[in-house]
C-alpha cells in the first residue's frame, strides 16, 4: 500500500469559496425536502472521477463511486483490519492458502491463493471468475497497458487459474501484506479482453469503462452505473445481479459540486441528502453547518490517515541541523492550533504513524509547545536573538525559512499564518510563498525546488510502510525521472534498514518492535515536522443509518448495502 497526496481539484477551484461563511445563520429553516420518498439517495462530493476504470489512475472520487459499484478481493475495513470482500477466506500461512516457496531464480517467494465468493456476479449475470483476475493480471503485467503502479505486477510473476473460482499468484517477494490483493481487481474478461488484446497501448481509451460505462457487465457491486453526466455527476441503480444483502435505495445519485459553499447550499436547499466526508466540507465549515442545522443533519468527524505535516528540505544547510528542526516543532503550539482552528477534532501527530494504527507507539517522544526550550535549542545551535526579534548566526545570516503550501486552501493558509506568528515569537522568520497545487506538487515538491518548509498531507492505508517518503533511495532525482516522494532528502542508514526489514517481517510482534524503533527515530530526527491527523466531516441526514467511514483510503461506499433509512 502506498502513500498518496490528496490533491483534487476541490483544493484548486475555490475561486469563489471565500464567501462560504456568508450562509447566514437562521436562513436555513425552509428548505424543501426533495428526497423523492427515500427511493433515491443524493450524495454531494467535491471531485469528479477522471475515469471509472478500476485499474487506471487512483483518485478519491473514483474510489468513492466504485465503492458502490464494484467489490475488491480484499480491503482494510472500518476497524483497519484486512478483510475479504470478493474472496471467501483471507489467505494465510496457517490456513494453507499461502505457502512459502523458492522462486525459479532461487529467491524467497510465496504463492497465495484466493477463492472467490460463489455468488459474485457481474451486472449482466456472468459470474466473476478467476479468468477475470487472470486477465487483470495479464493486462497489468503488460506495461504498455498504462496501468499506474507496476510494482505489484512485477512481483507477481506467475498466475495460475486453479478452477473457475480459484486463482493463485506466485510472488518473488514475501511481505506481511501477502494476503492483500491491493489494487489487483477483477476486470470483466468477457467485455474487456478483446478490447485489450486488440492493442494494449490504446486500451485505456477504448475500454468499456470509458466508452460504455452503463454496460451492466462492468459492475459487480450492489449498484451499477445507470447514467453519467461528465463533470456533473453519476447516477447509480441497484444491480439486479447482486446476491449480497439488498441495498436500501433504488438509486444513488452522486453529484459533483466543487465549490464547498455551493455544496452546502445545495444540501440546505434539499437538492442533496448528504455530503460524503471522503470528499466533502472542510472541518470548520462542517462544524458551522452542524451548529445551524443540527435538527436536519448529523455531522460525524472521523479522524484518519491523512497526515498533515511540514516537509523541510534537509539540503538547506540550516535545516540539515536536527536542533533547528526540533526548535521549529517546540515553538509550535499544535494543540492550541487544533483546538482553535479545528475545534479539537484532529489529533496532534507526534510521528507519521496514526495513533489508531496498531503499530503506533504510545510512548514515542513528544514535542509539546515550549518556547523557552526552543530558544535554548536555537541558542545552542548558534542562532542568537537579534534586536529586531529575528535570530542570526555568527555569520550574520537571518534565521529565515520559506514557508509554502497550496494556494487557495483556506484552512492551510490560516494555519500558515498562525505558524508564522508562533515561529516569530521564537525569533524565526517565515516567508510565505504559496503556489497552486498543480505547481507545488507537479514541480516544486516533486523536483525538490523548495528551500524551506512545505505544508501538505499524505494519505495512506493502515500499516503503510513509508518507504517512498523516508528511504534514501526515494529522494527524487533527475536520473530516476524524479520518482520517489522523499522530498525532504532525509538520509538515515538505520531508517533505510528498517524500511527494508518491516515489510518482510511476518511475525506481528517482531514487526511491532521494528515499527516502534522507526517511530523513535522519526520523533528524534524529525525528517518532517508532524502537525496533526486530519479528520473528515461526514454530513448525513438524521434519517440515514449505517454509514461507517474508515478513516483511510477505502471509502465508506464499499459497505453501501448496510446503509438504512431510519
Amino acid at each position: 500500500m502506498g502513500w498518496k497526496i490528496r490533491r483534487g481539484l476541490a483544493e484548486v477551484v475555490n475561486v469563489a469559496a471565500c464567501s462560504r461563511s456568508l450562509v447566514i445563520v437562521g436562513m436555513v429553516a425552509a428548505a424543501p425536502a426533495l428526497a423523492q420518498q427515500r427511493e433515491q439517495l443524493t450524495i454531494g462530493i467535491t471531485q469528479y472521477p477522471a475515469t471509472l476504470h478500476p485499474n487506471i489512475e487512483s483518485m478519491a472520487a473514483k474510489s468513492y463511486v466504485l465503492g458502490f459499484t464494484r467489490r475488491p478481493l480484499t480491503v482494510y475495513d472500518q476497524d483497519w483490519r484486512l478483510t475479504c470482500l470478493g474472496c471467501e477466506t483471507l489467505p494465510s500461512l496457517e490456513n494453507g492458502l499461502a505457502e512459502r516457496e523458492t522462486t525459479p531464480d532461487g529467491k524467497d517467494g510465496i504463492r497465495v491463493t484466493w477463492r472467490l465468493r460463489e455468488d459474485w456476479r457481474w451486472g449482466d449475470g456472468t459470474p466473476v471468475s478467476a479468468e477475470d483476475l487472470l486477465f487483470a493480471w495479464r493486462a497489468g503485467r503488460d506495461f504498455s497497458t498504462g496501468f499506474g503502479g507496476s510494482e505489484f505486477y512485477r512481483t507477481a510473476y506467475e498466475a495460475i487459474v486453479v478452477d473457475p473460482r480459484t486463482i493463485t499468484l506466485r510472488f518473488d517477494r514475501v511481505t506481511f501484506e501477502y494476503a492483500s490483493a491491493g489494487d489487483w481487481q477483477p476486470l470483466p474478461a468477457h467485455i474487456e479482453r478483446s478490447r485489450w488484446e486488440q492493442e494494449p497501448r490504446s486500451y485505456r481509451t477504448r475500454s468499456a469503462y470509458e466508452t460504455e460505462p452503463t454496460n451492466p457487465g462492468l459492475w459487480n457491486g450492489p449498484y451499477r452505473v445507470a447514467s453519467v453526466q461528465p463533470g456533473a455527476g453519476i447516477t447509480l441503480e441497484r444491480n439486479d445481479a447482486w446476491n449480497g444483502p439488498a441495498p436500501a435505495f433504488r438509486r444513488i445519485a452522486v453529484r459533483t459540486v466543487e465549490n464547498t459553499a455551493a455544496l452546502e447550499a445545495q444540501l440546505l436547499a434539499g437538492q442533496l441528502d448528504m455530503i460524503a466526508g471522503e470528499l466533502g466540507l472542510p472541518l470548520d465549515q462542517a462544524a458551522a453547518l452542524e451548529r445551524r442545522a443540527r435538527n436536519r443533519f448529523r455531522v460525524h468527524y472521523k479522524p484518519g490517515l491523512i497526515y498533515e505535516h511540514l516537509d523541510v528540505n534537509h539540503d538547506t544547510p540550516m535545516l540539515a541541523d536536527r536542533r533547528l528542526r526540533q526548535a521549529l516543532i517546540l515553538s509550535l503550539d499544535r494543540a492550541q492550533i487544533v483546538q482553535r482552528l479545528f475545534g479539537g477534532r484532529q489529533p496532534v501527530a507526534h510521528t507519521n504513524v496514526n495513533p489508531l494504527d496498531w503499530v503506533h507507539d504510545n510512548d514515542v517522544r513528544q514535542w509539546p509547545f515550549d518556547l523557552a526550550r526552543a530558544g535554548a535549542v536555537l541558542d545552542e545551535a548558534g542562532w542568537r536573538m537579534a534586536p529586531d526579534g529575528i535570530r542570526r548566526n555568527e555569520a550574520g545570516e537571518r534565521l529565515t525559512i520559506e514557508l509554502m503550501t497550496t494556494a487557495g486552501n483556506r484552512s492551510r493558509e490560516a494555519v500558515q499564518q498562525v505558524v508564522q506568528g508562533m515561529w516569530r515569537q521564537a525569533g524565526i522568520e517565515a516567508r510565505i510563498r504559496n503556489e497552486p497545487p498543480r505547481v507545488l506538487f507537479g514541480e516544486t515538491l516533486s523536483k525538490r525546488r523548495f528551500t524551506g518548509a512545505v505544508m501538505f498531507a499524505w494519505i495512506s492505508a493502515p500499516e503503510s510502510v513509508p518507504r517512498t517518503t523516508l528511504h534514501s533511495d526515494e529522494i527524487p532525482r533527475p536520473e530516476r525521472n524524479w520518482s520517489g516522494q522523499n522530498y525532504t532528502g532525509f538520509r538515515n542508514a538505520e531508517v533505510d534498514a528498517l524500511l527494508q526489514a518491516i515489510p518482510i517481517e511476518l511475525d506481528r510482534e517482531k514487526r511491532r518492535a521494528l515499527w516502534h524503533r522507526l517511530q523513535a527515530i522519526y520523533a528524534e530526527e524529525l525528517p518532517a515536522i508532524p502537525l496533526w491527523f486530519r479528520a473528515d466531516a461526514h454530513v448525513w441526514p438524521t434519517w440515514l443509518d449505517g454509514v461507517r467511514p474508515t478513516g483511510h483510503l477505502a471509502p465508506s461506499s464499499l459497505w453501501a448495502e448496510e446503509w438504512r433509512v431510519r
Partner: protein, 312 residues
C-alpha cells in the same frame, strides 16, 4: 460586404493558427507535466514507470514535434482524448459548449435588454440618470460569486423556490428553473456596460437635428426614442455585446463553479489546472473562435445598421 466577409474569415483562420501555436507553447511550458503529477500522487510509480508513461503519452518528444502531431490530427478532425475525463474531447466539449452558450446567451439577452432599457430611461429622463448610474455601479461592483451566494441563500435555501445549482435531470421547463439564478447573477454583473453605453449613445442621438425633425413631425416621444434614436445609437452597443461574448466566459467560470453547472468556463479551468492539454487547447481555441465570430457578426450588423460604414 462579401469581400469583407472573406477577408475577415481568412484573418480569423490565420489568427487561430497563430493562437493554437502560442497556446500549445504556453501550456507545454507550464510547470508539471501529467506524469510529474501522477508521480506526486502515486508513490508506486517507479523511475521506469515514469519513463514508460512519458513515452506512452508522447511526452518524451520535443515540443515542436508534439505540436506538429497535434495540429495534424486537428486538421484531420481528430481532437484527441481528454486525460481528465478519459473521453474523446469532442464528446466533452460539445455538451459543455451548448450549456455555456445557453447560459451566456440568456445572460447576454437579459443584460442587454435590462441595460438598454435603463439606458433609454436615463437618456429620456435625465433626472433619473443618477438612479440608473447607481443601479449600474451596484451591479458592476457586486462580485459575481458573492451575488450568486446571496441569491442562492434567498431563493434556494430560504424560500425554496429555485434550485441552488446543478442541472435539470428531467429536462423541459425544469431547465429554466436551474438556469434562472446563474443567468441573473451573470446578467446583473454585465448590465452596467449596456446601461452606460446606451444612455450615452442615445443621449447624443437625442440631440441630433433629425430627432428634432422627428419630434416636429409630431411623433410620440416613445417612437422617437425607439425608432429614431435607438437604431442610430445601436452601433457602440453592438460592439459591447460582441466583446462581451468572450469576456463572459470568465464570468461563466465563477457562475458555473458556484452553481455546479458543467460548461466551458469550468472546463477550461479544470483542463488547464489538471494539465489536460488536448482539452484545454481545443476549449480555448473554441472560445477564441466564438469571440471572433461574434465580433464579425457585430461588425456585419453595424454595417447593416449604418450605411456609412459599408463604404468605409
Amino acid at each position: 460586404m462579401i469581400r469583407l466577409l472573406g477577408a475577415r474569415l481568412v484573418q480569423i483562420a490565420v489568427t487561430m493558427a497563430v493562437l493554437s501555436f502560442a497556446m500549445f507553447l504556453l501550456i507545454g511550458l507550464m510547470p508539471g507535466d501529467p506524469i510529474d503529477l501522477a508521480i506526486a500522487g502515486d508513490p508506486r510509480l517507479t523511475a521506469e514507470d515514469a519513463a514508460r508513461l512519458r513515452a506512452l503519452h508522447g511526452l518524451d518528444q520535443p515540443l515542436l514535434a508534439r505540436y506538429a502531431a497535434w495540429a495534424g490530427a486537428l486538421l484531420e478532425g481528430r481532437f484527441g482524448h481528454s486525460r481528465l475525463f478519459a473521453q474523446p474531447v469532442a464528446d466533452i466539449i460539445l455538451p459543455a459548449l451548448g450549456s455555456t452558450l445557453v447560459l451566456l446567451g440568456a445572460a447576454l439577452a437579459v443584460a442587454a435588454t435590462l441595460g438598454i432599457g435603463l439606458g433609454l430611461l436615463a437618456a429620456a429622463r435625465p433626472r433619473l440618470a443618477p438612479l440608473v448610474d447607481a443601479i449600474a455601479i451596484l451591479g458592476q461592483s457586486a462580485p459575481s460569486f458573492w451575488l450568486g451566494i446571496l441569491l442562492i441563500i434567498l431563493f434556494a435555501v430560504t424560500l425554496g423556490w429555485l434550485p441552488a445549482g446543478g442541472t435539470s435531470e428531467t429536462g423541459g421547463l425544469d431547465r429554466l428553473r436551474f438556469l434562472l439564478l446563474p443567468v441573473v447573477t451573470l446578467a446583473i454583473a454585465n448590465l452596467a456596460a449596456y446601461a452606460r453605453h446606451s444612455a450615452s449613445a442615445v443621449g447624443l442621438a437625442l440631440r441630433e437635428p433629425w430627432v428634432t425633425a422627428a419630434r416636429a413631425r409630431g411623433n410620440a416621444e416613445a417612437r422617437v426614442l425607439l425608432r429614431h434614436a435607438l437604431p442610430n445609437a445601436a452601433v457602440p452597443i453592438l460592439q459591447v455585446a460582441a466583446l462581451d461574448a468572450g469576456a463572459l466566459v470568465g464570468g461563466a467560470l465563477i457562475t458555473e463553479t458556484l452553481f455546479a453547472r458543467p460548461g466551458m468556463g469550468k472546463l477550461i479551468y479544470d483542463a488547464v489546472m489538471g494539465n489536460d492539454t488536448n482539452l484545454a487547447l481545443i476549449a480555448l481555441l473554441l472560445v477564441a473562435l466564438v469571440t471572433m465570430l461574434a465580433t464579425l457578426a457585430a461588425d456585419l450588423a453595424q454595417r447593416a445598421l449604418d450605411p456609412r460604414l459599408r463604404d468605409a
